[in-house]
């Protein structure tokens, strides 16, 4: 495998984008997370996104408890090989709060939150507080 640059903690940042059907990836950005080498290897072997959870300090198979898995469609590294970009097909929604994307909260140029212009796509309470 190409020699990607993991940081001092053995992690590399990963941008996750909704898959598009064009040569030029242009889907919505769904989330950002971190992978260690094992998470990257499991992702490539299974075709489903795996991360390193920094808060739980363990390998994290996205969708394991919620069912909201992410199938890999295409993936890229940046010019410095220290950041990865995955195009995925997201089941239901990516965000643990129930929104399609973790980036649902916009801000104005003074850094004040704007009204959220979309509704959650699932009921987080039902999915996670089982």
């Amino acid at each position: 495998m190409e020699d990607f640059k993991f940081n001092a903690d053995g992690l590399i940042p990963v941008i996750v984008q909704e898959a598009s059907d064009s040569e030029r990836p242009h889907g919505r950005v769904l989330m950002m997370a971190w992978m260690n080498r094992e998470a990257l290897e499991k992702t490539l072997a299974s075709g489903k996104m795996h991360y390193w959870s920094r808060s739980r300090r363990k390998l994290w198979f996205k969708g394991e408890s919620s069912g909201h898995t992410q199938d890999v469609v295409r993936w890229y590294a940046d010019c410095d090989k220290d950041c990865l970009l995955f195009e995925v097909r997201q089941a239901t929604g990516a965000c643990h709060t129930g929104y399609e994307s973790c980036f649902f909260q916009g801000y104005d140029m003074r850094g004040q939150p704007l009204a959220v212009g979309e509704a959650p796509v699932f009921d987080a309470k039902k999915v996670y507080d089982k």
Copy 2:
């Protein structure tokens, strides 16, 4: 300003995406970089992207030497407030190698690089080796 979560080094990761004209941001991901609080403040005050350069250890006004500035259109934070997403209008190209996006190199599921399916949009040698 909202209290975003900067890491132990005082930095927050920033995803930079080409602006789209839909409620739902869906442009191409151009680059990923880091901001400290000053870079975020300068970005919001000027409407032009500023970062913290970890390699040069200084504030970095994107496009200062190349002219390839990035005008802020909209911006978001994620659900944990520890990652920012900026929609920008990119002058010419974002990548220092001459490509539109830093994520021009795709990989297969064994981690082997694929042929690059696009051409640079500017001559990096002419722009940076002045």
